[in-house]
């Protein structure tokens, strides 16, 4: 176990009393509480942390935050393994294990490195130009390309952790708790507005955590703690840390990913790992800061080349020295604070290379003057030298406004090169919100222009980089947001004070020219290995739109979403095309700002909670007797009741025969039920059903079809007139929801003048169908008082009675074709009534049956269900055209008169009997000759098929063209799928009791 050679002895925001042990690529290291994985690795002198995506080049840590392109690691192991995490964002915890990615066998020796040697032959988009021969060989080449691509490895086990979703509402959402964000939250919070303040980091302060500035005459961090305390004390303010605002959607919906337990080895029991907040905010203040740009020069990807602001952060916040001897390369003043941080932290600075001939502003100049660091103004680093990491840099003078380098080149030794190419405001969320960006020549970067949602940007996020401007801008934005949300900001809130620093303007240098007759890789996108030369190639080949550039070179398509590369790439393209940056445009930033775990988007809607299971009131009874269940939509229904040792088919046949020969009972509670009340109820039914309703007498039921306006059948069902203005409609299980919505739509929007009220009572009533020749006897035995004979309860009649002391609704209707009744009772009595009927039926050998037997019974009887009513059929297809009212309109009537439906060649409903006793395959197509050359003409298809124990043969229902023509003829039910082509005899769709005498008894 090594010590931490690059850790400073004092300073920083780490807790030296809490050393933590962690492993990286198998070696054990120590760090301190408050470290990130990146700062701990740097403290231990680990500079090589990854291999690049395409060329597998050696890469080190570049940044200190969300913009890090290189340092991607796989964290944890086993079922908690997680790839592609930025070491700069991973909080160190004791026992952390991490490993580098995209290398084999090891980080130091990586076979993939061959790509680097061949890199000359692998320019942008090379794969579009080759791997084409021989034809179809792509999949061969592709295997190797796939294996080489990708970054980390996905875990191979299910996720043991769980995730949460949290909806929230507020008046003002402040994103970012740096100087601007804290000020905004304070101003808004004091006004009494409901405020949510979110920040990516574990603690408040943002850039101030690595800053030596003073605010209100105290150290910046003291000010942060004071403001934090004030906000904590406000009941109307909620602070979320370790929470990244990732998505900005319509009407100010912002998603925020809170890493609840990622800083722990594992979550506590019942503690979610992450929580996704869906925040609806009246106003949003984006105080997301700015991200430093790297500079583009030869070998700028060598480990040891780092962003100046990152070096400073490591130095001050983490007390980590990023090297032993540094050179600073910049085109703006901000990097000079890195110089003072380095010198103060005992890292000598060999030289400051500033591309600006005029050098920096006074404040920066003071730093270098006092420290006596050599300054090379009007110069640039033309290349970083070294193999494992930077060992020296080559510097030359710039000429012709940076368009070429000139003079003798000079080599300066260093193992750390701090670069700063200016700053990009973090406009990602603003851009997601559909806000328009504006290119600011002074800042050489894109800044927010017109908002398109109730939002404003503050501080560095809007291009105001100075600390004093951030503090002022934050207060103003916060107060304004509160005011626009309907609150009155208090007077006493004023901007905190700090010194103003005068800076000389940044001077754009998008790519350091290569010395004459020299070639070298100047990386724009470090993660995807896109060089300035690749950008030039794309332009040369005509991929000149920014989107084409992105897609052809993969610039900015990595996990860092091009945070450090987009603007540089854009500017280089603009340069090549001699046009200005705005006219080349910018790429749109898409959610999420930072990658979000799929698990946290799903939250708790996984597994059993992905969708509810609806249970029948009699579910416990079915379960108690060991029923086999099946899901039908959201419902759990009994498929069949197998007796011990009984096979599925045996059970189904037994249940079917019981109904045909004695009596059976099935749970039909899942049917949709709707009460239709009001003086126009009957008229309403006339309009929604194809058949007549006004003449239905009280106490009678009627079967009917309901069409969609396009003429196709929506549903069929039975409706009962319970009272003059009160109808009780039943729908099929599957269509219960759609039918209710359909009726509500017409009642409210098309015929609002009708006095009709609809109430869904599906859950109010338990339903059971009791069917078979002995059903009436069972019912008579169970019912208390009132006879259930033909007089009081004729076919399609309705009666109210009591069973087992509770009220029941009796309907004499049949689905099986046998004499049958439906018994409906309030749900909580379902089991009571069910058991009473079972008891009453004991002497008649009553048999409970499931959906399979029910299906066989209805197929034998030629009743249609969803398989036939698939949204493509009309009543005439089933011979129900006579049911249609001629004399008046109903929904869908006009559509039935269109050519295709009125006299087009339509497939009609027929029955099929297996000619040779073989099973009629499910989903079979009806053909004349199955062995005809393909395409084989298809005459129709099998909609439902089963074995009929009553006929002792396989039968099926089908839709067949020229149905009358094929009556009695032989066709083939063809199923190439099962390689069976069964001869079937076409016949009538009703196989049993075509006259329907059994039902009437």
């Amino acid at each position: 176990m090594t010590s931490q050679p690059f850790r400073r002895l004092e300073g920083g925001l780490i807790d030296r009393d809490r050393p933590l042990t962690f492993r990286f690529d198998g070696s054990t290291f120590t760090g301190y509480a408050g470290d990130t994985l990146a700062s701990a690795l740097l403290a231990n002198g680990v500079t090589l942390v990854g291999r690049s995506f395409k060329y597998h080049r050696r890469r080190g840590i570049v940044a200190a935050g969300v913009e890090e392109p290189n340092a991607l690691a796989t964290l944890r192991e086993g079922n908690r393994q997680e790839p592609n995490l930025r070491a700069t964002q991973v909080e160190l915890f004791d026992g952390l294990t991490a490993s580098s990615q995209n290398r084999w066998p090891s980080l130091d020796f990586d076979v993939g490195g061959i790509n680097n040697i061949l890199s000359r032959f692998l320019p942008a988009g090379f794969y579009y130009k080759t791997f084409m021969w021989p034809a179809g060989a792509w999949m061969f080449y592709e295997r190797f390309i796939r294996a080489a691509a990708g970054l980390g490895k996905a875990p191979l086990l299910g996720d043991p952790d769980y995730y949460e979703r949290r909806h929230a509402h507020c008046d003002v959402l402040v994103v970012g708790a740096g100087p601007a964000g804290l000020s905004a939250a304070l101003a808004a919070g004091r006004s009494g507005a409901r405020v949510i303040l979110v920040d990516d980091n574990a603690a408040l302060g943002g850039s101030l955590r690595g800053d030596t500035a003073t605010i209100n005459e105290v150290p910046a961090l003291a000010w942060v703690d004071e403001v934090g305390g004030t906000l904590e004390a406000l009941e109307n303010v909620r602070i979320l840390t370790r929470a990244t605002a990732v998505g900005y959607y319509d009407q100010n919906l912002i998603t925020v990913c809170e890493r609840v337990a990622d800083h722990l080895a594992r979550p506590d029991p019942h503690q979610p790992r992450q929580r996704l907040w869906w925040v609806r905010a009246k106003r949003v203040v984006l105080a997301t800061g700015a991200i430093e740009r790297p500079l583009v020069f030869a070998n700028n990807d060598l480990p040891g080349v780092m962003l100046a602001s990152a070096v400073r952060t490591y130095q001050l916040q983490y007390a980590v020295k990023c090297g032993r001897r540094a050179v600073v390369f910049t085109n703006n003043d901000s990097a000079y604070s890195c110089v003072s941080a380095l010198m103060g932290g005992g890292v000598p600075v060999s030289a400051v290379v500033d591309t600006r001939a005029s050098g920096p502003g006074d404040a920066a100049r003071k730093i270098v003057d006092s420290s006596g660091v050599e300054c090379l103004f009007g110069h640039a680093v033309v290349g970083a030298l070294g193999r494992q990491r930077v060992t020296s840099v080559e510097v030359m003078a710039l000429a012709d406004g940076g368009s070429r380098v000139t003079g003798r080149s000079r080599v300066i030794d260093c193992d750390l090169l701090c670069v700063s190419g200016g700053w990009n405001p973090t406009v990602h969320l603003f851009s997601q919100s559909q806000g328009k960006l504006r290119y600011d020549e002074g800042l050489t970067s894109f800044v927010p222009d017109a908002s398109s949602q109730a939002e404003s940007s503050a501080g560095a996020a809007r291009g105001e980089l100075g600390l004093d401007a951030c503090l002022r801008g934050g207060i103003e934005a916060g107060a304004e947001a509160a005011r626009l949300a309907g609150f009155t900001p208090t007077e006493d809130v004023e901007a905190a004070r700090c010194d103003h620093v005068d800076e000389a303007p940044v001077e754009a240098l998008w790519a350091v020219p290569l010395p004459a007759r020299r070639h070298g890789k100047r990386f724009v996108d470090l993660q995807n290995d896109v060089t300035a030369e690749d950008v030039a190639l794309a332009d040369r080949e005509g991929y000149q739109s920014v989107e084409h550039l992105k897609r052809y070179t993969t610039l900015g398509m990595g996990t860092d979403q091009g945070r450090t590369s987009n603007v540089n790439g854009l500017a280089i393209l603009a340069g090549l095309r001699d046009s200005d940056i705005p006219s080349v445009g910018t790429t749109t930033f898409r959610p999420p700002f930072n990658p979000v775990t799929l698990g946290t988007i799903t939250a708790r809607e996984v597994g059993a909670d992905l969708a509810p299971l609806r249970l029948s009131p009699m579910h416990d009874w079915h379960a108690g007797v060991g029923a086999n269940f099946v899901t039908v939509g959201l419902w759990l229904r009994t498929q069949f009741y197998a007796r011990p040792g009984e096979a599925m088919m045996e059970a189904i046949n037994r249940e079917v025969l019981a109904v045909r020969n004695a009596v059976g009972m099935v749970d039909v509670s899942t049917l949709g039920k709707i009460e239709i009340q009001g003086r126009d109820a009957a008229e309403f039914l006339e309009r929604v059903y194809i058949n007549r309703w006004t003449n239905l007498q009280v106490g009678r039921c009627r079967y009917g079809f309901m069409l969609r306006e396009d003429g196709f059948i929506l549903d069929d069902g039975t409706t009962t007139r319970v009272a003059d203005n009160n109808f009780y409609m039943t729908t099929t299980t599957a269509q219960a929801g759609p039918v209710m919505a359909h009726l509500e739509y017409y009642a409210q929007t098309v015929w609002p003048e009708l006095h009709v009220h609809l109430t869904s009572v599906t859950d109010q009533w338990a339903g059971m169908a009791i069917a078979g020749p002995r059903s009436r006897e069972v019912l008579a035995a169970a019912c208390e008082g009132g006879d259930v004979g033909d007089e009081s309860l004729p076919f399609m009649g309705y009666l109210e009675s009591r069973i087992a002391g509770v009220p029941v609704r009796l309907f004499r209707m049949t689905f099986s074709g046998e004499m049958a009744y439906e018994v409906h009772t309030p749900s909580d009595y379902g089991i009571r009534v069910w058991e009473a009927l079972m008891a009453a039926g004991k002497d008649f050998a009553i048999t409970p049956y499931g959906t399979e037997a029910m299906s066989v019974l209805r197929i034998e009887k030629g009743h249609v269900v969803g398989a036939e009513l698939d949204g493509r059929t009309i009543p005439a297809d089933f011979g129900f055209e006579r049911m249609q009212k001629k004399d008046r309109d109903f929904i869908g009537k006009r559509s039935l008169e269109r050519p295709a439906l009125a006299y087009g060649p339509r497939k009609r409903f027929v029955g099929l009997i297996s000619e040779d006793g073989r099973k009629i395959p499910r989903g079979a197509q009806l053909v004349w000759n199955p062995t005809a050359p393909k395409p084989v003409p298809m005459l129709g298809h099998v909609s439902s098929t089963c074995y009929s124990p009553n006929l002792g043969n396989y039968i099926a229902l089908a839709l067949l063209e020229d149905a009358d023509g094929y009556q009695g003829k032989l066709l083939y039910a063809s199923s190439p799928l099962t390689d069976s082509h069964v001869p079937v005899r076409v016949g009538h769709s009703v196989f049993i009791d075509p006259e329907g005498e059994r039902a009437r008894g």
Binding site: D250, E744, T749, R898, P899
Partner: protein, 98 residues
Amino acid sequence: MLLIECPWCGPRDDQDFTYGGEAHIARPERPEKLSDEQWGDYLFMRSNPKGTHLERWVCNGCRRWFNVCRDTVTDEITAVYRMGEKPPGAIKKAGRKS
């Protein structure tokens, strides 16, 4: 995600509503009097405008249908009004061809 203001229940995410398509398409009084073309037009033809769209939604809370005026490019909702009401003055029904 849209934030839609139900005239009765107030603002809610779009997942608490069901979309009902273009508004103010009156069901013909006498469908039998229409030609196949006219009926097909009523059934299927839509203005589908890029810009102001008058559309129907139903609230899954109170289950009431109502009209919404939304810009189909910006998703901005400029008006919400009840069934049977006319769209607010300024708004013209977009895309309609006579």
